[in-house]
């Protein structure tokens, strides 16, 4: 009887252990302290209590053993010690300073930034979107900002765990940081002090600069979110970077508050008043993004750009070497010129895409007082095809590289009288050269005439789009610094379809270009710190010297010494 009772109580103890283990296992596997783990825990504890009640002598006897007495003391001391050390770690983790050992102090904020942060009176929230494990660099930098002023509040969101927040803020690219203050917002793609400080200045500034899209000549509509050719995504991208965006009807002159004007070639020629207005605007120091696509009527635009030494070329650029999905009519560019304006325009750019593009010719030498920089060009294997038959290089075509993005800046002479050109209007492009099936969604560049802006005006922008009543700057600011023009031989690159085309950086190209034109590329002169280590120059046998010394001679010397020691002690 006694043995049977002992067996029973032992069985109860085992069952209790199994139940408690099962509770822990189910909790770990499911990740939730749901009903099953709870039931198993209660059962386990009940069985344990039953064992204690049924066999108290054994339990009390355990406590009387020497091992348990000293062992529990050791365990208790260890747990207490670890807890104290853990608490110390937690405390240090809450207020952890860092020691920047680098020569360029790349982990320390510059005095300019510190001064700006000290004067900051309004709250700036920063939301960074990073995959888990990729956020450390941004977090470290934001921590430095937050340590200077508690008005800087930040949080890191992992879109895989919290998909609602990026959707709410209209975030497409991982690695984006959204700076917000009140209704102002600026998106930043790179983790540098320069960009962060500029963003803080931009969102806390009372002034927001205004960018105009010219409409009314058959250009894509900045409010058109429905059609692939629309420019609504471009408009949102600019609004997210603290610009106020508006349409500039064909009948209007350029307002004083225009920080930049975006002019795309349309299906209709420019009106006379437009030509003279834009020419006057440029001559006074205006800033324009001018775009034309393959086979479009470029006569008016060329008249406008002639004083700057830029000419849109008739035809379509074919590039089989660098193109989207092997479609030679959609050239892709991954290497840019960083000379002059190129450094601002191409900052942080990956691949950019120019479907159904023409080309741009630059005057050599450039007109007096004008600086021209070819920013993006196609490969050496490309050409500008002037005929509309099959894809083939013929006489009269221009061999690559073909300029796709060119900047021109400087002081223009006094406004010249507008001289409307009577260049023949090209027929709709893309009708003879068919798009390869590889990119079935590629639109014919301007084959679809755009409805007037009112047609798509009702297309609502996403809810996240800020719509404040802005304070804008006047002509004295907007026209300062001389004329700046960026010409792009394509109008589709910033369309709804291609602005955020996967793996491409067209959105960044647009924002960088407008920042350059509007003089907004660096609101503060935070010195750029080189974060990459210096290059190593290895010539001739240098590599062998390093490899053999580090991986052979030094270890061999250690082995010889070891052999000597062994021989001596043998």
């Amino acid at each position: 009887m006694n043995r049977a009772f002992k067996t029973l109580t032992t069985g109860i103890l085992y069952a209790a252990v199994v139940a408690l283990f099962a509770a822990l296992a189910t909790y770990l596997v499911s990740g939730l302290f749901g009903n099953l783990p709870k039931i198993l825990l209660i059962v386990g504890l009940a069985l344990l209590a039953a064992y204690v009640v049924a066999d108290p002598d054994t339990v009390l006897g355990l406590f009387k053993t020497r091992g348990l007495k000293y062992g529990s003391n050791t365990v208790l001391m260890s747990v207490l010690f670890v807890a104290i050390i853990g608490a110390g770690n937690w405390f240090v983790n809450q207020h952890s300073p860092s020691f920047d050992l680098t020569a360029n102090k790349i982990h320390t904020l510059s005095p300019q930034t510190i001064s700006i942060l000290k004067d900051l009176k309004q709250t700036v929230t920063v939301t960074g979107f990073f995959r888990a494990g990729e956020e450390q660099q941004a977090k470290d930098l934001l921590q430095l900002y937050a340590a200077q002023n508690s008005q800087i509040q930040y949080r890191i969101v992992d879109p895989e765990k919290d998909p609602a927040t990026p959707r709410q803020l209209g975030i497409i690219n991982l690695g984006t940081l959204v700076f917000q203050s009140g209704s102002n917002r600026k998106d930043v793609q790179s983790v540098t002090e320069q960009d962060f400080t500029s963003a803080i200045l931009a969102v806390t500034s009372a002034e927001r600069r205004k960018v105009y899209f010219v409409t009314g000549n058959g250009q894509p509509d900045p409010d058109d979110a429905q059609q692939q050719q629309g420019y609504n995504e471009a408009k949102i991208a600019l609004q997210n970077n603290n610009y106020v965006v508006d349409a500039l009807p064909a009948t209007s002159s350029v307002p004083d508050d225009a920080a930049a004007v975006i002019l795309a070639s349309g299906t209709k020629p420019l009106l006379d008043n437009q030509k003279s207005a834009y020419a006057d605007y440029l001559a006074k120091g205006g800033k324009m993004l001018v775009m034309s696509s393959a086979f479009s009527d470029v006569g008016d635009l060329n008249d406008l750009l002639k004083p700057l030494g830029l000419t849109f070329m008739q035809g379509i650029t074919i590039d089989a070497a660098n193109s989207l999905a092997n479609n030679p009519q959609a050239p892709a560019v991954s290497r840019y010129s960083s000379a002059g304006a190129g450094s601002d325009i191409t900052k942080g750019l990956t691949i950019t895409l120019y479907p159904l593009a023409g080309g741009i010719q630059t005057a050599t030498p450039a007109p007096q007082g004008i600086t021209i920089n070819a920013v993006a060009s196609t490969s050496d294997q490309s050409w500008l095809q002037t005929h509309r038959d099959q894809i083939q290089f013929r006489d009269g075509d221009t061999r690559g590289p073909i300029n796709l993005v060119v900047s021109a800046s400087g002081k223009l002479p006094a406004p010249a009288s507008s001289s409307p050109s009577a260049s023949p209007s090209g027929s709709a492009p893309g009708t003879l050269i068919q798009n390869p099936t590889a990119v079935p969604t590629l639109p014919p560049a301007s084959a679809t005439p755009q409805a007037s802006s009112s047609g798509a005006a009702q297309s609502a922008a996403p809810a996240a789009t800020p719509t404040p009543i802005p304070a804008v700057t006047g002509a004295d600011v907007n026209l300062a610094g001389g004329t700046r023009v960026v010409a792009v031989a394509d109008t589709d690159w910033l369309s709804n379809q291609f602005l955020d085309f996967p793996q491409t950086g067209n959105r960044d190209l647009l924002v960088n270009t407008i920042n350059y034109l509007a003089g907004n590329q660096a609101l503060v002169s935070v010195p750029a710190k080189s974060t990459s280590p210096g290059q190593v120059l290895l010539l001739g046998s240098d590599a062998n010297l390093i490899l053999f010394t580090t991986a052979l001679f030094i270890p061999l010397a250690v082995l010889v010494l070891g052999g000597f020691v062994w021989w001596q002690r043998r």
Partner: protein, 291 residues
């Protein structure tokens, strides 16, 4: 440690013989008295030295441990293996990146150490237990903490010599480029701390078993889990458990050192792990008194 380090301590020179009344005794009595006094003094001074000079005891044990490590040809093989691996990886990384940086090399070094450090610590206390010399040590007036700390410092000395042999790497970078020496120094601070953690945990595990192979395998296993704990943290979701798991992982704390931006919490984290592991090792040795 066959000769019980810490016991062979010199008599305390501060204890000068008191010979004031010796002039009145005969030469034979003087000699006898001197011998007796010397015996008494020797015993008392030894007891006093061991009990009152923990630093000297720790230093003696560390010195003996270091000596015994370098007296063994196996130690030179361990160093040579460490240098071949690191030298090769350093060269390959340098040739491919063409950059005067050691950040990646330090990360590789830590991984190699993860497997090599247990081979240094596996015999430190398990061998004492297997051979029975631990009983001798425990019955001597030597504290467990002195024994453990001395052993760890001996292993650290060996490790620092091993690490010093990698100093030609930054020298090569200086010759052929312009490395950020602050970043390199930060990396060395980090790798010394990581090595200290590996050796402390290895020492603790060595105190748990008499079998060196078990100590080696268990140490590698524990260090590997701690190193890779970050992944486990990410799989826990975004709650407090995930933050705790990420904080406990060894690897993420290393980045701040290799980037040249030493965060106090990372420094405290590694020092805490060393202290905890050594504390547990002391407690583990202590259990032999009542087990």
């Amino acid at each position: 440690m066959k000769d019980a380090p810490g016991l062979a301590v010199e008599p305390d020179p501060t204890q000068a013989p008191a010979e004031a009344d010796e002039a009145e005794t005969t030469a034979a009595e003087r000699r006898r008295a001197r011998r007796t006094a010397a015996r008494t003094r020797g015993a008392s001074s030894r007891t006093r030295t061991l009990a009152s000079y923990p630093l000297r005891n720790i230093g003696t044990i560390a010195g003996r441990e270091l000596y015994s490590l370098f007296a063994s040809p196996i130690a030179y093989l361990v160093i040579a293996f460490f240098l071949v691996m690191n030298g090769y990886l350093f060269s390959i990384i340098l040739f491919n990146s063409q950059q005067a940086s050691m950040s990646t090399s330090f990360a590789d070094m830590a991984i190699i150490l993860l497997f090599l450090a247990p081979s240094i610590t596996m015999r430190l206390l398990s061998e004492e237990q297997r051979s029975g010399t631990i009983e001798l040590l425990l019955t001597s007036p030597l504290r467990e903490s002195e024994l453990v700390l001395g052993k760890w410092l001996g292993a650290m000395g060996f490790y620092l010599v091993m690490l010093a042999l990698t100093l030609p790497y930054p020298l090569f970078l200086l010759k052929y480029g312009s490395p950020d020496l602050g970043q390199v120094a930060g990396g060395y601070v980090g790798i010394i701390l990581v090595g200290g953690v590996f050796l402390a945990i290895g020492l603790f595990i060595s105190s748990l078993t008499q079998n060196q192979i078990i100590a080696l395998a268990a140490s590698i296993g524990v260090l590997l889990v701690l190193w890779l704990f970050q992944g486990a943290g990410q799989s826990f979701g975004s709650g407090g458990g995930a933050s705790l798991a990420q904080y406990l992982a060894l690897a993420p704390h290393f980045d701040s050192f290799t980037s040249g931006n030493i965060r106090l919490n990372d420094l405290v984290y590694y020092l805490s792990l060393i202290v905890i592991a050594l504390f547990l090792a002391v407690r583990s040795v202590e259990t032999r008194r009542w087990r």
